[in-house]
């Protein structure tokens, strides 16, 4: 409640209480610079987090959630083993559909190798079964392989899309890492602004004593410092964020080899995301300085 009122007064400004705090000083510069540097780093971490998140999503979608089972067996065995394999697949959890391909489909698959005119019926072509995984369950491929070996010894699982799975995990991990560093950066900034505010307050001990002596209330004194520091942090973070956004935008993005981190950055409305950084910095600075100021003023009774 009180904090809200203060935050409002902050925006409106109070030229009176403003002037009583010395205008410059290295702690002030330190606050601005720290906010700027941390905002810059935060911008990078955010971009990395967003990009790797986007990548993880895209790759996850591209995981075709399917595999192929190839059954090679002497002519008479082929149909029997196919039926056995289908029976096994039917009782395997995590499988939505298992469907043997017909001759035309198999021919289409082999066309690039042998042309359209392949007499597929006359050749010992293996039977293919297209398996679609359930999207919500996790298929135990190794278990399936063992069971198939028992029931249909000619069956081979072609796990062609699986190689991408660790990449998705990696991208998700990268997103987690960047989010973690985002939190670390924010925390570090909060601590630094708090310490800088403390340092400024103790460097300005005589200013506080003078103000006390002429009848200034704690709130008046705190407000002057808080406003100064919040604006510094806000300004610094804004500059740092803009610099960070420019740096991210300037990252060479080689569309030719379109791939992984080559599209590091924000997209569309995503560019609004970093705008939260200075706002967050301002809020953190406001809370940190106010806490520091009121605490210092109480101990300086």
């Amino acid at each position: 409640m009180k904090a809200t009122t203060l935050a409002m007064a902050l925006m409106v400004g109070d030229p009176h209480s403003d002037r009583v705090v010395p205008p410059t000083g290295f702690t002030a510069q330190l606050t601005s610079f720290t906010s700027a540097a941390m905002a810059f780093l935060a911008c990078f971490a955010l971009a990395l987090s967003v990009s790797s998140g986007r990548l993880a999503d895209r790759w996850a979608q591209e995981l075709s959630q399917s595999l192929t089972i190839r059954i090679s067996a002497p002519g008479d065995q082929l149909a029997v083993q196919t039926q056995a394999a289908l029976a096994v697949l039917e009782t395997t959890p995590g499988i939505e559909e298992a469907r043997p391909l017909d001759a035309d489909e198999q021919r289409a698959l082999l066309a690039p190798w042998f042309g359209q005119s392949l007499p597929i019926e006359e050749l010992p072509v293996p039977q293919l079964i297209d398996v679609i995984e359930a999207s919500d369950a996790d298929l135990d491929v190794d278990g399936l392989r063992l069971r198939l070996q028992a029931e249909a010894p000619g069956a081979v699982i072609d796990d062609h899309s699986r190689w991408r799975r660790p990449l998705v995990q990696a991208a998700q991990r990268l997103r987690g890492l960047s989010a973690l560093s985002l939190i670390l950066i924010t925390g570090a900034m909060a601590a630094m602004v708090t310490l800088a505010a403390h340092a400024a307050l103790s460097a300005n001990r005589s200013v506080i004593e003078v103000l006390r002596q002429v009848g200034a209330r704690d709130d008046y004194i705190a407000k002057a410092f808080v406003r100064r520091f919040t604006l510094r942090a806000l300004g610094g973070a804004a500059v740092g964020t803009i610099a960070g956004m420019i740096a991210v935008a300037l990252m060479p993005s080689s569309e030719a080899t379109a791939g992984f981190l080559t599209d590091l950055g924000f997209r569309g409305l995503g560019w609004l995301l970093p705008a939260t950084i200075p706002i967050l910095a301002g809020i953190v600075a406001f809370a940190a300085t106010r806490f520091a100021a009121l605490r210092t003023l109480r101990t300086m009774a």
């Binding site: 002037r19 009583v20 010395p22 004593e209 003078v210 002429v214 704690d218």
Partner: protein, 225 residues
């Protein structure tokens, strides 16, 4: 009115001041003397709530300072002009702004009081230094700025701690005259000083009580000066 009722004060070691009772009537004029380290500054700080009595009561307008909130003490101070022994200023503001600071802190418009400000600065002989910054002042000039700042709000009470410690005889006389004049306008004045010649000089101008702190007690001096 400031009342001290069996006040004692200790900084942690033994008691520095013991069993001190005094009623400072509005419009009275007091000198406070005593050897260096006797507790004069401490005594004045008790009177404006900068220190709180460790025993007994200090009452400002009837209210015990120990029961006052921090805001209440801040408000009470606006009626008490203090000239500290070692005066400090806002070094980034000009002399004029420093003198006007009490008005600004109280949220009052300093431009209204512009005439008062100029008159006050001329009285303490600092008109030519109105735009200087405090670090550029000499020791005596600082004391005079502090006095002007204390008087600026037209407080009911003026507490001055060695206001002429660094000031030559002629200027001291001017300052004494200013304080006497303010006293004649009804303001209460208390001056802590070790300058006995100043106390003697005041006798012709004002009916002053001379208090002396010695051996932790407050005594009435006067006849022996």
């Amino acid at each position: 009115m400031i009342e001290l009722d069996k006040v004692a004060y200790s900084y942690g070691g033994g008691e520095l001041l013991s069993d001190i009772s005094l009623t400072v009537q509005p419009g009275s004029f007091h000198f406070l003397t005593g050897p260096s380290g006797a507790g004069k500054t401490t005594f004045l700080k008790l009177m404006y709530g900068d220190l709180l009595a460790t025993a007994g009561q200090v009452r400002l307008s009837g209210v015990d300072t120990r029961t006052m909130s921090r805001d209440q003490i801040a408000l009470a101070r606006r009626k008490i002009g203090v000239v500290p022994q070692n005066s400090q200023f806002l070094d980034h503001l000009s002399v004029a702004d420093n003198v006007a600071l009490p008005l600004q802190v109280a949220g009052r418009d300093a431009t209204e009081a512009q005439a008062d400000l100029e008159q006050l600065l001329s009285w303490v002989g600092l008109s030519s230094h109105r735009d200087a910054f405090p670090p550029e002042l000499s020791g005596g000039e600082r004391q005079r700025v502090a006095l002007a700042r204390a008087v600026m709000m037209s407080p009911d009470v003026i507490l001055a701690d060695e206001p002429t410690g660094n000031i030559d005889w002629e200027m001291s006389q001017r300052i004494l005259k200013l304080l006497v004049e303010l006293n004649k306008m009804g303001k209460t004045v208390m001056i802590a000083t070790h300058d006995l010649t100043m106390i003697r000089a005041s006798k012709a101008q004002v009916q002053a009580r001379v208090l002396r702190i010695a051996n932790r007690r407050l005594q009435l001096a006067g006849a022996d000066l």
